[in-house]
């Protein structure tokens, strides 16, 4: 890029502050969205994307629904076409994982021995599913985070199988619904009282429990899961590690199972940063600009950033945060100076229910149905905590719910939101 004759060329001005090389570590939604946002904002420098999986960037929300059910071929979960990726003019290094970061020189080392150095490094390594102790290697025990996880689980979901889903959060509830639709004998287990109780409060989670029960999902709530039971393995055979036979609850009861899915949350993938000197505390600790250190940023599920309106650090594991935070990080890299202050949003589809949640629903929040009818399972509810609106939730009323989002925005700056 050359400086214009008049010396005031705006493009040249931008290039004076833009980094010459950007390295994005992580090739999923947040990483890819960072690249796209950089190009959209006019960045013309070199970009490299390092991904630990061999796959081109793909989307995760369909994994527990359309991909798991078989309604979609896996390729439909691709985030962009090959042509769209090519048009980004970025170097994708796939199938190689980051194993270390030298913060001073902004050099990332990889498992295969590469050394990638850049002027700006964006950490987008996401999260890893938590597992149950003692389940490693046991045939029939699954987690669901990656495309390969989804395909392995899909292959295991034969209609005669007894499936136990451990974990009553969003992912566990979605997997239970999908598997039940495929005709499996499904039990959803967890320590809370109802599906997604932490995310949507007691009234809506009770309604979700009703929906699951009516569709034939067995609910086994109010008991922690202690571990799994399995057959003894036979060394040197395919059944070397044994296969799962059930899920053992904290009280000693065993739920029989042919297949078990463990969906008990995830931990940020920051092991590779242990020696980097970056602040690591349930995620990469960032300032309100998503900056972890000079020239180093974090984006998506792995980033714990300071949210100026909430006055504290937050880490958001949701799909829209990956895109919105990526746009914010791209702006920061290119010299914008704006805090990232999102209104959290997520959706879930289970059986015939489409739920949308803007903002958050803290424990003890009051619920008020502002549109529709809860009994008819078509409504918008507004949640208030300490006198301020903290969230709106829609059940099969997506458009009406979006139109109510402003209620959250209006109250947002002064509301202390709890997880």
């Amino acid at each position: 890029m050359s400086v214009g004759n008049d010396g005031t060329d705006r493009v040249a001005e931008a290039s004076a502050t833009a980094p010459g090389r950007v390295l994005v570590v992580g090739a999923s939604a947040a990483g890819l969205a960072t690249v796209e946002a950089l190009r959209r904002k006019g960045y013309e420098g070199a970009i490299t994307v390092l991904g630990d999986e061999p796959h081109a960037p793909y989307d995760r929300p369909p994994l527990s629904k359309q991909v798991l059910s078989g309604a979609w071929e896996p390729g439909r979960a691709a985030l962009r076409t090959a042509a769209a990726l090519t048009a980004l003019d970025a170097a994708f290094v796939l199938g190689d994982a980051a194993v270390g970061l030298d913060t001073a020189t902004r050099t990332v080392r990889t498992r295969a021995g590469r050394e990638l150095t850049a002027d700006a490094v964006v950490i987008a390594t996401g999260v890893r599913p938590r597992t149950l102790p003692g389940s490693a290697g046991l045939w029939g025990v699954h987690v669901l985070r990656s495309l390969d996880d989804a395909l392995a689980l899909r292959a295991a979901l034969v209609p005669t199988a007894r499936l136990v889903v451990v974990g009553e959060g969003v992912l566990g509830s979605e997997i239970a619904a999908t598997a039940r639709t495929l005709g499996l004998d499904v039990t959803l287990a967890g320590p809370l009282d109802a599906p997604m109780a932490l995310q949507v409060g007691p009234v809506v989670s009770a309604a979700l429990a009703g929906l699951h029960r009516e569709n034939g999902v067995r609910l086994r709530f109010g008991a922690g899961v202690a571990g799994v039971t399995g057959t003894a393995g036979v060394a040197g055979t395919a059944g070397e590690h044994g296969r799962v036979t059930g899920v053992r609850l904290a009280g000693g009861e065993v739920l029989p199972a042919d297949v078990v899915v463990v969906a008990i949350g995830a931990v940020p993938a920051t092991e590779w940063l242990a020696d980097s000197g970056l602040g690591l505390d349930n995620g990469v600790v960032c300032d309100s600009r998503c900056r972890a250190a000079d020239g180093i940023y974090a984006v998506g599920d792995v980033a714990r950033f300071h949210h100026e309106h909430l006055g504290r650090a937050v880490r958001l594991e949701n799909r829209t945060n990956a895109t919105e935070q990526a746009a914010a990080v791209a702006g920061t890299i290119l010299g914008e100076d704006r805090p990232y202050v999102p209104v959290p949003y997520f959706w879930t589809d289970q059986f015939d229910a489409k739920l949308q949640i803007h903002g958050v629903i803290p424990a003890g929040a009051e619920i008020e149905v502002v549109e529709g009818d809860l009994a008819a399972r078509r409504f918008v509810a507004r949640f208030t905590h300490a006198g301020a609106v903290t969230g709106v939730l829609g059940w099969n009323m997506p458009k009406q719910t979006r139109l109510r989002r402003q209620d959250v925005v209006d109250a947002f700056p002064v509301t202390a939101l709890a997880h």
Binding site: A37, R40, P61, R319, T320, W347, K354, K399, R402
Partner: protein, 64 residues
């Protein structure tokens, strides 16, 4: 610019309506995206590109 949507991918988040309200709307009954114009004029192009970028279900694409 030609806008193409895949209704069966749409998750009804409504991000596209926020980005380009003259190009996108949502159906009242199920929130699925409604394309108001297949060929938006140039002055709406930036909003459409934002909508493509922000759609959490990757349901919108642009063809030239």
């Amino acid at each position: 610019m030609k806008v193409v949507i895949e209704e069966d991918k749409c998750c009804a988040a409504g991000q596209c309506v926020a980005a380009a309200p003259d190009v996108f709307d949502q159906r009242d009954d199920d929130g699925i995206v409604v394309l108001l114009t297949v060929h938006p004029p140039d002055d709406l192009a930036e909003g459409v590109r934002d909508a493509v970028a922000m759609c959490p279900a990757v349901a919108i694409r642009v063809e030239q």
